[in-house]
């Protein structure tokens, strides 16, 4: 393993023939796509379509049954499904962020907000306490959480604040890619708008790549360059966001798009 510069001619992420079965049940099957640097991909589809399973496979949270997830890292074009545990841990701690649907799964509820942000920095070897605290304060500000809440437990935060804290805790190590699993579900609409706005700004300012799993098509349109539509574990249609939402071709996509109420 040598510290290198990623190969710019390769995509940031390449998912190839990815499948995940839970026993006999299919989670997702034969998924193929590429993600470029600075690109945002939305994955849409109803509950149980395999969106979250796909994301967990990419995040290295669950073992895949088949296929590869190549990540263009500082250590080369690494297959996250095949690489050793140590490297996977190193990558998921630093270069890949993963924001879960329930903040309880993504945050440590028994340590302070600042501690949640600092933890990833310490896992990367940073030991200077005052510097860690300074960085944590900066990140709280970036995600619009009042800095005087730094020593409070996440349990005292609202749902929207918890999600924004998760985002800060993930972005603090300057990852190349962030994976988002239904970040806005279960939040009030006004709270959603703030989260989306924070996300939008960070993604464009940091030139982050993102895979956003959501069932909210308006959120998907606002944030994503391209969309993938999933049904029963498979991708049924893909294209630029406006192509999918304004000119859907597949019966399932047409159903999905026409079922949304426009306020």
């Amino acid at each position: 393993m040598t510290g290198n510069v990623p190969d710019k001619s390769l995509p940031l992420l390449k998912v190839q023939n990815l499948s995940k079965f839970y026993g006999k049940n299919m989670g997702c099957h034969d998924i193929n796509f590429e993600l470029a640097e600075g690109e945002v991909i939305g994955v849409v589809g109803e509950s149980g379509s395999g969106k979250s399973t796909l994301l967990k496979c990419i995040a290295g949270k669950i073992n895949t049954t088949n296929g590869s997830v190549f990540f263009n890292s500082l250590y080369g074009f690494v297959d996250l499904c095949q690489c050793d545990e140590l490297l996977l841990r190193q990558l998921t701690r630093t270069q890949i962020g993963y924001v879960t649907q329930n903040s309880v799964d993504g945050l440590r509820m028994n340590i302070s907000a600042g501690g949640n942000i600092g933890e990833r920095l310490m896992a990367n070897g940073m030991r200077n306490y005052s510097q860690i605290r300074k960085i944590a304060l900066e990140w709280l500000e970036k995600v619009e959480i009042e800095t005087n809440r730094i020593d409070d437990l996440p349990t005292t935060f609202s749902g929207g604040m918890q999600q924004r804290l998760q985002i800060a805790a993930n972005l603090v190590t300057d990852p190349k890619i962030i994976l988002m699993d239904e970040p806005t579900s279960g939040l009030d609409v006004s709270v959603q708008a703030r989260l989306i706005d924070v996300l939008r700004k960070l993604v464009s300012r940091l030139r982050l790549s993102m895979i956003l799993v959501t069932h909210d098509l308006a959120v998907a349109r606002m944030l994503s360059h391209r969309l993938y539509v999933m049904k029963e574990g498979k991708i049924v249609e893909s294209g630029l966001s406006d192509q999918i939402l304004d000119d859907p071709r597949e019966p399932y996509t047409q159903l999905l798009v026409s079922s949304v109420l426009k306020p």
Binding site: A36, R200, M222, Q243, D247, Q254, L255
Partner: protein, 237 residues
């Protein structure tokens, strides 16, 4: 003069799977060339395919058959087959598109909405803001609204924000889908002037205008979209 946009034999149909599989043929073997510094008006009743053609050029709608060759940074690129990255780049630098309605983003100020295309091109924040203020002033958006999100604006104000955003950066090709609908006479004239200035500076403008008076003021060649079939050789420049 060399064309900046060559549409070659394109067809578009929509299959409505949940409405008895109805197939709507909107364009059938449409071919046409478009030139810099010229304006083309797409005419015909609703459903004739005017907006569909604009969206296909922008690659917001997919093209079933044919080619849409766009001159992008001195090379011709087929929008029908271009990679996503190329399309993002074309939308950033070569083709501008002003839709009928503004897609408002909550919590983003009107000024920030307007200057976004410049920011994405790498123009400095201060320069972009200065240009943004100029065009907002020109389109008569009161200064006390600039820092507010356009979500609460009236229909006419939103459309002017949309136009300001569309005209703040210059593009070799501009697609305008009913830009003057819902505007009062003064603003209508301002927008017509913006369009004429764009044409004079060399942009190729393709637009839909329902208002007869606007059409006459703009001039240019008119295309009757109800004809459906166009042979490449019969279209005059």
């Amino acid at each position: 003069m060399e064309a900046v946009l060559k549409i070659i034999n394109i067809s578009k149909d929509f299959v409505l799977h949940h409405q008895d599989g109805t197939r709507l043929q909107v364009l059938d073997h449409f071919s046409m060339e478009f030139f810099p510094g010229k304006i083309t008006l797409l005419n015909g009743p609703s459903g004739a395919g005017k907006s569909t053609l604009l969206r296909m050029i922008y690659a917001g709608y997919r093209t079933c058959r044919g080619n849409i060759m766009v001159k992008h940074k001195d090379h011709f690129v087929d929008m029908v087959q271009a990679s996503p990255a190329t399309i993002y780049d074309i939308r950033l630098h070569t083709i501008g598109y002003v839709s009928q309605f503004l897609r408002v983003v909550p919590r983003v100020s009107a000024l920030d909405t307007v200057i976004e295309p410049l920011i994405q091109r790498g123009v400095s924040e201060s320069k972009a803001r200065e240009k943004g203020r100029q065009i907002l002033r020109r389109l008569r958006i009161p200064e006390n609204l600039w820092h507010l999100s356009a979500t609460t604006f009236s229909g006419g104000e939103q459309q002017r924000i949309n136009l300001a955003r569309g005209f703040i950066a210059s593009y070799p090709i501009m697609l305008l889908d009913e830009p003057t609908a819902s505007l009062d006479p003064d603003n209508r004239d301002t927008v017509l002037n913006l369009i004429k200035e764009a044409v004079r500076s060399g942009s190729c403008v393709i637009g839909v205008f329902h208002n007869q008076g606007d059409q006459e003021k703009i001039g240019g060649r008119a295309v009757d979209m109800t004809r459906k079939y166009f042979h490449p050789t019969e279209v005059e420049h």
